[in-house]
């Protein structure tokens, strides 16, 4: 059989060249005709004018960069951020891998750029609540939640926060609850916008209509009095209003709906961390020694709860620490089958930072595959390993408290030794993965963009159209499309900006006629569904 095949092969060889040529030629013909077909379709397409404005949803690093490129090119950008400040998760990080740049330091200038850009209309505490129209002309409704502080006049002096009767009582989301804030607050010192806002859920005045002796009515009156230059007493207004120099606190502020008309939309809604509770065997929330990767960033950060000292949950600096890979990610069992792409590297970075801060600390990293794939990642991984911490292959199986001690024990197998191991530790860092941010699914539904099975936004083509969606004029970028690190997010964001810019620059977009066409005989000439329904009823 083998011999036969061989001779056949030889005989065929000469022919093979031609027949292959012929075959590929046929393939080519078919491709050509496909393309011609699509060109034919193009002829029927209509062109519409593109509104020279863009909407970017999400003010993290991806949204910021998309907005900056479009704004720098001279087009108006509306940047909608759900939280009181832009900056996203990157603002929470201590240092970035693999260069160990201070995250806040490289981010802050860009925050300022976005905040100060004449072409960027930054709307914080805001949400997109409605989208209509199509490429070139999207009618977007944005709900601006009341901040109860006038953004234009607030100087961010923090006197209100100091004065607030509930100052330092509520967990600051930015510090993952590791620090406390007042109901009137700014998430972090270098927040943009720098203005304060009031959290309606915790403010006495907003919740109960009363703060001390002051009522909502008396407060509103008091603010007017101050405007007129009259004196007010502490019975008339709450401490924040009394302390506020520019008189910019308005407890009667209302939510506002803004309507925009934009040519295109970029979705950059980022990610949430996978709740570590999805893997209860790691006892997150049970033992204070077990923290998640984002919490580590806050502890490690000079502006964090411990000013960068590794006194986790008030404990002394750790003598032994264990970093756990793939918490949540690559785990079918808990519903996140995908790899989160950044954990290997952030754990390597964190292990390095801990080593630097607490040189005597014994550090182990438990992993299954070290995915050091990016530029200079492998080199960084090698360097970190060379610093004397130990990388041991094998995922942690479980964590329990060492009896009669305040330390914990991590059980795992060192798969390279083929032996089970027990690592004693007083700090365990969970390398939690990334999942789509809360509420993204609803937003995408509004936009008509589908999800991939991992619940991230579906791009038009995973390979060749990574920032387009099936909806022309709507683009996705950053972690909304799938987990990625900062440079990949930035590149993708600029990629989406490029796609949108080419639309805005040309000023024209093509629309498939099927979208707009209608059978005139059946048309009952109405713009809204309600009217249409009414007309149909009339007709009937």
């Amino acid at each position: 059989m083998a011999a036969k095949a061989e001779t056949e092969g030889e005989v065929e060889e000469g022919k093979a060249g031609i027949s292959t040529e012929q075959m590929t030629r046929n393939t080519m013909e078919s491709i050509k005709s496909t393309v011609e077909d699509s060109l034919l379709e193009k002829i029927e397409e209509k062109e519409v004018d593109v509104a020279p404005e863009a909407l970017v949803i999400g003010g993290g690093i991806a949204g910021m960069y998309a907005a900056l490129d479009i704004a720098d090119a001279g087009f108006k950008v509306h940047l909608v951020e759900r939280l009181p400040s832009i900056g996203g998760h990157m603002a929470q990080l201590d240092k970035t891998f693999p260069t160990l740049d201070c995250s806040a330091c490289i981010l802050t200038p860009r925050l300022v750029d976005v905040g100060a850009h004449p072409n960027i209309n930054l709307m914080s505490c805001s949400e997109v609540i409605g989208v209509e129209g199509s490429v070139g002309n999207f009618k977007v409704k944005v709900l601006k939640h009341a901040k109860y502080v006038d953004e234009a006049t607030c100087t961010g002096c923090m006197m209100c926060e100091e004065a607030c009767r509930l100052t330092g009582r509520f967990p600051n989301e930015f510090d993952l609850g590791l620090m406390k804030r007042a109901p009137i607050y700014r998430p972090f010192p270098f927040a943009i916008p720098a203005a304060y806002s009031i959290d309606a859920g915790t403010c006495l005045m907003l919740k109960k209509g009363k703060c001390g002796k002051a009522t909502l009515e008396s407060t509103i009156e008091a603010v007017k009095k101050v405007e007129r230059g009259e004196e007010i007493t502490k019975d008339e207004a709450p401490p924040c209003v009394l302390a506020c120099g520019p008189n910019c606190i308005h407890h009667d502020m209302k939510d506002e709906t803004v309507e925009l008309n934009v040519g295109g939309i970029i979705v950059a809604t980022g990610y949430d961390i996978i709740p570590p509770e999805t893997m209860p065997e790691y006892k997150y929330g049970v033992y204070p020694h077990v923290i998640n990767g984002l919490e580590f960033e806050r502890y490690s950060s000079a502006s964090g709860p411990t000013m960068g000292k590794m006194n986790v949950a008030g404990m002394p600096e750790p003598k032994d620490a264990v970093f756990l890979s793939c918490v949540g990610s690559r785990n079918k069992q808990v519903g996140y089958e995908y790899c989160s792409r950044v954990c290997c590297m952030y754990l390597a970075k964190q292990a390095h930072l801990l080593q630097e801060k607490v040189p005597s600390c014994n550090i182990s990293v438990l992993y299954q595959d070290v995915r050091a794939f990016g530029k200079d990642f492998e080199e960084f991984y090698t360097r970190v390993k060379g610093e004397g911490l130990s990388y041991r292959r094998g995922l942690a199986a479980e964590i329990y408290k060492k009896p009669g001690s305040d330390r914990v024990i991590v059980r795992a197998e060192d798969t390279m030794l083929g032996e089970p191991i027990e690592l004693e530790a007083d700090l365990v860092v969970l390398g939690v993965g990334l999942k789509p941010s809360e509420g993204m699914d609803k937003l995408l539904e509004m936009l008509g963009v589908a999800l991939t099975p991992d619940n991230f936004a579906k791009e038009a083509h995973p390979k060749f159209r990574p920032v387009d969606t099936d909806v022309p004029g709507v683009f996705v970028t950053g972690c909304a499309q799938g987990p990625k690190d900062i440079p990949d997010s930035v590149a993708q964001a600029k990629g989406a900006a490029g796609a949108l810019l080419s639309l805005l620059a040309r000023g024209k977009a093509t629309i498939k006629p099927s979208v707009a066409e209608m059978e005139e005989a059946l048309c009952i000439g109405s713009n809204t569904l309600k009217e249409m329904a009414a007309k149909i009823e009339e007709g009937a």
Partner: protein
């Protein structure tokens, strides 16, 4: 069948250890269920479940029809099953699950059962007595009957393996964060104490006790030590097979290792029985290896 007040009946699948080694478990369980109006009917002609880790390990094609035969007996009685052993729970529930999900397998199994006129139809449901206590009777009703609260008693809960796992078949939620036994212990006023090896196997399953009894006892020793170190007064569990390992195993262990352990082991209904005013004797606790301290009996 009504799950409201009034009489509910279950077919009580005894298995091997409950009736043949620890009849106290059988007695206590029957009494407590009856107290809440639940009748337990004997399953005439039931056999070994058979042990899932043992027969399942040797020949699952034998294991399955034997389990199916037991299920068929309950079906003939038109009753749901209640068990007092994780092995029986695991075996019967898994067999039920597999047979319901695989018509070909069911057909093949019924071919064998047909030789003596039985058939698996898939009409019964396998329940663990402890789950019946927790879910059917409910903590509130249980609490009403606690006459001798176990205040000040520190309890180490032991689940055994097949009670919770695999969760896709058992359906009691995450095996890492169980709650059923804890709830039952707390209802008596006792304290549920977290200890290192709480979720660890007793060491007996899967033919392990048979394969190498010494190392099987060593696992158990580790488990007991970790409970004792946390100041526990006794161990409460839902499995007759674990009971055999944990109770009789202590005597074997003392002999093998020259130790002197006597850590009280109680099946959950025995523990509840004491709290509900049953005597040590009525719960069969006087006829087992480990002895009960005054604290539990007062």
């Amino acid at each position: 069948m009504s799950e409201e007040e009034g009489t509910k009946e279950y077919a009580y699948f005894l298995g091997c250890i409950t009736p043949n080694r620890y009849p106290g478990i059988e007695a206590a369980t029957k009494r407590i269920l009856k107290e809440f109006g639940i009748e337990t009917k004997e399953m005439m002609g039931a056999s070994c479940c058979p042990a899932p880790g043992v027969f399942g390990s040797f020949d699952m094609h034998t294991w399955l029809p034997v389990a199916a035969r037991n299920l068929a007996i309950a079906e003939e009685m038109d009753l749901d099953i209640v068990v007092t052993c994780n092995g029986c729970y695991g075996s019967l529930q898994e067999a039920d699950h597999l047979l319901k999900g695989n018509p070909k397998l069911k057909e093949k199994t019924n071919e064998i059962l047909g030789k003596f006129g039985r058939e698996f139809k898939g009409t019964t449901k396998v329940n663990h007595s402890i789950v019946v206590l927790h879910d059917v009777i409910g903590l509130d009703r249980l609490k009403e009957k606690i006459t001798k609260p176990m205040n000040g008693v520190n309890v180490a809960v032991h689940y055994g393996c097949h009670f919770l796992k695999p969760r896709e078949v058992r359906g009691h939620g995450s095996s890492e964060t169980p709650y059923i036994l804890e709830d039952l212990v707390k209802v008596t006023g006792a304290k549920d104490v977290d200890y290192k090896d709480k979720l660890m196997c007793c060491g007996a399953g899967g033919g392990n006790r048979t394969a190498d009894s010494v190392q099987s006892l060593e696992w158990m020793r580790q488990k007991l030590v970790s409970a004792i170190e946390e100041g526990c007064d006794c161990m409460v569990h839902p499995c007759a097979f674990c009971h055999l390992q944990l109770d009789r195993g202590q005597a074997e262990m003392n002999k093998a290792f020259g130790t002197d352990y006597n850590f009280p082991i109680l099946f959950a209904t025995q523990f509840l029985g004491l709290a509900m005013g049953l005597s040590e004797k009525e719960c069969g606790l006087d006829i087992q290896t480990t002895t009960m301290p005054e604290k539990l009996l007062k």
